[in-house]
Structures are given as structure tokens and as C-alpha cells.
């Protein structure tokens, strides 16, 4: 089910276990954080440490407090609203056919997603614009100190990063070098699960490229009732997973600029795209395989789930076995009580007819009418146990008489025959000890009870059916055990009904 993913989750699982002892300190990341905002109140089953790791590695969007209502600009700030390094000059000739040949699949796992993102621009970016932007990226690069210099043009860009431009981009907003808070939250996007609005660096499903916030994503899980791999809530494709485009990446920056521009210019084509839920400038349309290392899957954030499930299954099996055992004991006890009551308190003539039928195998109907007429005399214990037991006792009587006949007519030593003989013997003991009421009689009754119990279980297992049919079933069961008596079968059925 999880194959490659499960391996990964196991790694994370052991990793997070190591980390769990450490005290958690939240940190701001791209105006978001590492703690949920309580949209869901159920006890979390995901591994929060693993989730945080993914957020820090920029493979999942941070947690943001979802905004209840849409606003183009939810956090206007007059003080910082004029950073000219980000608002796109209206004179800028921005071609809508700008092709961003970004390939996230080249990214490695190290978390520096920008490092390998290649952006080839056919569109013309204003050169000063480019400069300021590259300075921003470079500033990030410098600050992190881990960037390779293959952010294209950065090395070839002739304009050196002046301390001033550096300062500027940092002064605007410390939480992100490229976007002020106002810019970051502009034109938020609705999560279709929680109906709240989030900044545009929301996660997207790997399969159908639909937005989903992190808080909703981590809620989607396998369940013990449905242990199959989770499905995408939108397109129902199996092996649910999401991708995330970090706002630190150039690709995101490109998208952002196209979006802002199209919004501000009310470009009808983009307006249409936006109204359809697409992000202008966003390239991905195809599904990404769930084995792709950039995907965060359900199994990733629920490490060890399969183990839990297997444990749960074993526990269920154990409980089921216990339930059956308890049931057997209970039935044994009930049946024992009822049968003992019945046995010792039945009118004598019933006993007589019983033994009578033993010696005269073909007098079933006689014994039946007898027993049914005796029903009213039986004590209430038996009645509370239900008609099933009455029927069973009746069946036992029929079976014994059949066995008797079988025994007399046919001395073949089949295994079944042996069993029947054993029952015969115990039966005789019972009859013999009728008056003595001693221990041996109790023991032999127990033997008999076990036989009866088996049938009661049969009854109960098929108890969803109508009473009538179950009785018939047990009759069949009982009679088929006496193999050589098929002829009498019909007689029995008709007589009992």
C-alpha cells in the first residue's frame, strides 16, 4: 500500500521519536507558524513533529490563521505600503506568454528549493526590476549562505548588490525578504475544505492541483474502518499527497507578479482564470506521482500507521475470540440451567415418551405431540430461554431416536457413528441416573449440553434470519449429522412444523 512512502515514513517516525524529548519552540516562518489554529478539535493523530519538519523544509505551507472573509488586501499597512521594489511598474511590458520552464522535479531533498529552480524568461522583465529582485534573492542567498550560484542570471547580473538595496529589502519586513506582510497576504485563496482564506502559498494536491491548507491536509487520514490509502478529496485519486511552492522560490515570485499585475489591470483573461480557481502563471496541470520525493503524502505525516492498524487488527481478533468464548460459556451456563430445570421438572410422562421414542424410532410424531402438549407445563426458566431451546431439545430427542435406529440397523463403525454411540451412552446414563441426581448424572448432562450448545450457536450465528428459517436450518444440521437417515428427514421437518 504505502511501498516507498512507508519507508520514508518509518525514517521520519524514528527521527521524530528522537526529537520528541526536545522542547518545542514555535517560530515564525513566512508570516506563518508551526502551530495549528484549532480549526479541528479532534485529538490529532498525525505526527506534529513530522509536519513541522516538512514546514521547515518548505515542503508544506506553514500554519496561517485562516481569514474568514475575502479581501484583496487583508493587511493594508500605510507605513509599508510603498515599497517600490515590489509593486510592478505599470509601464512594464509584461508578456502574458511568459514561459516559466521551472522544473521542481530537479529539486533535491535538502530543502534549498530555490537552488535548482531554473527560470527561463522569454518575457521581458524590466532590467531594474530584475536587479532589485535578484538583489533580494541574493540577499536571501547570502543570509542563508547555502545557496549555490545557479540561480540563473544572478551570477551574470552585472549589477552588484549594494548594501542599500539589501538594507531596503530587509527593512520592509523582516519575516520575508521579498514580500511585506501586505504583499504576502494580497489576493488570498480559499481552502475548499475549511472555507477560510490563506495567502497564496497554500499547498496544492499532487493529482488535480487544487488548493488545500495545511490544517485541513493533515486531518485527512486512513481509518481503521477504511484502511486503504487516502484519496484526494477533490478528484478521489488514491495515495493523496500535496505539493508546495515556497514563496522563497523564483517560480512563486513569477506567479505572484503575474497575479498582482493581472489583478491590478483587471485583465479579463486572468480574471476568468482566477474565477475558475486557477492561479495565473501557474504551470502545473499534470498530476505528480505519489512517489515523487517532493510530495508530502498522508502516510508521511502518519508514520507508523500500518503498525498501529496491524496492532488494532490483532486486538480485534483477540476480542472477537474472547467474545465467542464468553458467549459459549454463557450459553453453556444458560443451557445448563434451563436444561437441568427442564430435565428435573418435566412431567414424568414426557420422560417416558422420551425413552419410549428411543425404543420405537418411528414414533416421532407421537413424541412431538407429547412434548408440545407438555410445553405449557414447563417452568418459566425454560420459557425465558426461548423457544429455540425447546426446539433444540426436541431435535435432540429426534436425533437420538434416529441414532438409535441407526445403531440398531447398521453397525458400521464410522467416526460419526462413534460419536452417536457416545451420545447414546451418555443418554443412557442420564436415563439410568434419573432418580439418583448424583454427580455422574450432572457430568453426562453436560456432555449432552455441549451438543445442544453447538446448535444454539448455529442458531445465533444465523439469527439475522427469520426464526422460522433458523429452526429449519438447525433441523437440517441436526439431521445431516446422522448420515444414514435421509429418509426420515422429511418426516422430521413436517412433524416439527
Amino acid at each position: 500500500m504505502g511501498n516507498s512512502n512507508t519507508k520514508r515514513s518509518d525514517d521520519y517516525s524514528s527521527h521524530s521519536r528522537r526529537k520528541k524529548s526536545k522542547e518545542f519552540i514555535d517560530q515564525r516562518i513566512n508570516y506563518g507558524s508551526l502551530v495549528t489554529h484549532g480549526i479541528y478539535t479532534a485529538q490529532p493523530e498525525y505526527d506534529i513533529d513530522v509536519v513541522r519538519e516538512f514546514i521547515l523544509k518548505k515542503k508544506l505551507s506553514p500554519f496561517y490563521k485562516g481569514m474568514e472573509d475575502y479581501s484583496d488586501n487583508p493587511f493594508p499597512s500605510s507605513a509599508t505600503s510603498t515599497p517600490d521594489n515590489l509593486t510592478i511598474p505599470s509601464t512594464q511590458p509584461y508578456e502574458p506568454t511568459l514561459s516559466i520552464a521551472s522544473s521542481t522535479e530537479n529539486n533535491d531533498d535538502t530543502g534549498s528549493q530555490c537552488s535548482k529552480t531554473r527560470v527561463s524568461r522569454k518575457g521581458s522583465l524590466d532590467s531594474s526590476r530584475r536587479r532589485s529582485r535578484h538583489s533580494s534573492f541574493s540577499s536571501m542567498k547570502n543570509r542563508r549562505g547555502s545557496y549555490k550560484s545557479d540561480v540563473d542570471d544572478a551570477s551574470t547580473s552585472s549589477s552588484p548588490i549594494t548594501p542599500d538595496s539589501h538594507q531596503n529589502s530587509l527593512k520592509v519586513e523582516p519575516e520575508h525578504p521579498l514580500y511585506s506582510k501586505e504583499e504576502f497576504f494580497k489576493y488570498p485563496i480559499e481552502c475548499p475544505i475549511c472555507f477560510l482564506y490563506y495567502p497564496r502559498n497554500i499547498n496544492y494536491t499532487r493529482c488535480c492541483d487544487q488548493p488545500i491548507c495545511t490544517e485541513c491536509f493533515i486531518q485527512i487520514k486512513r481509518t481503521f474502518q477504511n484502511p486503504e490509502p487516502t484519496c484526494c478529496p477533490y478528484c478521489v485519486q488514491s495515495n493523496f499527497g500535496v505539493t508546495y511552492l515556497s514563496p522563497d522560490s523564483e517560480e512563486y515570485y513569477e506567479q505572484y507578479n503575474i497575479l498582482v499585475k493581472s489583478k491590478e489591470e483587471h485583465d479579463p483573461e486572468y480574471e476568468k482564470l482566477l474565477s475558475q480557481g486557477s492561479t495565473p502563471g501557474k504551470k502545473r496541470k499534470n498530476s505528480i506521482s505519489y512517489t515523487d520525493p517532493h510530495i508530502v503524502s498522508t502516510d508521511d505525516i502518519y508514520p507508523g500507521w500500518m503498525l498501529k492498524y496491524e496492532q488494532h487488527q490483532r486486538e480485534q481478533q483477540r476480542l472477537e475470540a474472547m467474545r465467542v468464548r464468553n458467549f459459549n460459556v454463557q450459553v453453556n451456563n444458560n443451557a445448563a440451567l434451563a436444561l437441568l430445570d427442564a430435565f428435573f421438572q418435566l412431567p414424568i410422562e414426557n420422560q417416558n415418551s422420551h425413552s419410549h421414542s428411543r425404543s420405537h424410532p418411528h414414533s416421532h410424531s407421537h413424541s412431538n405431540t407429547n412434548s408440545s402438549s407438555n410445553r405449557q407445563h414447563r417452568n418459566h426458566t425454560l420459557q425465558t430461554f426461548g423457544n429455540d431451546l425447546e426446539e433444540l431439545m426436541l431435535l435432540e430427542a429426534i436425533r437420538r431416536s434416529l441414532a438409535d435406529e441407526n445403531n440398531n440397523n447398521n453397525n458400521n463403525q464410522s467416526e460419526e457413528q462413534g460419536n452417536l454411540n457416545a451420545i447414546e451412552e451418555s443418554n443412557e446414563v442420564v436415563v439410568l441416573n434419573d432418580d439418583e441426581h448424583d454427580n455422574t448424572s450432572n457430568i453426562s448432562i453436560r456432555n449432552e449440553l455441549e451438543e445442544a450448545t453447538e446448535h444454539i450457536i448455529n442458531l445465533n450465528l444465523s439469527s439475522s434470519n427469520e426464526d422460522h428459517t433458523t429452526v429449519e436450518n438447525t433441523i437440517d444440521n441436526a439431521t445431516t449429522t446422522t448420515s444414514a437417515t435421509n429418509n426420515n428427514n422429511n418426516n422430521n421437518n413436517t412433524s416439527t412444523q
Binding site: I39, Y40, T41, A42, G66, E68, P192, I193, C194, F195, L196, C216, Q219, I220, Q225, N226, C231, P233, Y234, V236
Partner: protein, 148 residues
């Protein structure tokens, strides 16, 4: 427990843009509990009928499906005597991307398109398969009798 924003928004949207043939009104004292009415779809045996249902959003909604039940008696192979509905999206095929509206639309479609091969009411399904004409006549009769 405060009502999740999603439920509030769904309710607002249901009120603001009602779907033809479907209404869902929350109880004042329990905003998770809705009185629902679905019109029998045209050219179905339920045409002209108004079917009352109850819908409840459990604590886990939308991660768990809403609980929906017919209150009006209906003769349908996928709806049993107690009004319980056999519909995959109300069970294992639930997705949090579904909404009250989409659930009710699916139920309306189920009225147009009964599925006797996946029955909940065995006797009705049997009749539907062996004597469809009679089954449809009964469904119409029940609609006239109970869903007016």
C-alpha cells in the same frame, strides 16, 4: 463549542443561493441540525412529492459525513423503513470536499436513479428487479400517500 466557520458559511450560502427543489434550514437551538425538504425529481416515481429529511453535522464534520435520514415514508430500494439511505458518499466514499448541498443533490439524484443492485431495503429491491412496473407503481402510490 463554537460553530466552525465552514458550517456557518455553508449555511449562509445555502440560504443565499438555494438549489431548486432542495431546502435545508438549521434549527435555531442547534445549528448542526437541519430540516431538509427535497422535491421528487421530475419524471421519477417521486415526482410531485415533497420529502422531509433530517440532516445532522457531527462534531468531526467535514472530516466525517453528515448523518441524513428520510422522515417521509418512501418506497425506494436504497432507502429502508427507518429512512436510512444507502449512498456511498454518506459512508466510505465521503470526502471533506463534499458539502450539505452536494449531499442533498446526490440524494435527489438517487431518487431519479434507484440502484436495486446495492439495496438497503431488500424487499423493495427484489420487487424493483423482478417486477419493476409494480415497484414504480407502489413508489408513486406512496408518494401520493405520504409525500404530499
Amino acid at each position: 463549542m463554537a460553530l466552525p466557520k465552514r458550517i456557518i458559511k455553508e449555511t449562509e450560502r445555502l440560504m443565499a443561493e438555494p438549489t431548486p427543489g432542495i431546502s435545508a434550514v438549521p434549527h435555531e437551538d442547534n445549528l448542526r441540525y437541519f430540516d431538509v425538504e427535497i422535491s421528487g425529481p421530475d419524471s421519477s416515481p417521486y415526482e410531485g412529492g415533497k420529502f422531509k429529511l433530517e440532516l445532522f453535522l457531527p462534531e468531526e464534520y467535514p472530516m466525517s459525513p453528515p448523518k441524513v435520514r428520510f422522515l417521509t415514508k418512501i418506497y425506494h430500494p436504497n432507502i429502508d423503513k427507518l429512512g436510512r439511505i444507502c449512498l456511498d458518499i454518506l459512508k466510505d466514499k465521503w470526502s471533506p470536499a463534499h458539502q450539505i448541498r452536494t449531499v442533498l443533490l446526490s440524494i435527489q439524484v438517487l431518487l431519479s436513479d434507484p440502484n436495486p443492485d446495492d439495496p438497503l431495503a431488500n424487499d423493495v429491491a427484489q420487487e424493483w428487479k423482478t417486477n419493476k412496473e409494480q415497484a414504480i407503481a407502489t413508489a408513486k402510490e406512496w408518494t401520493q400517500k405520504y409525500a404530499k
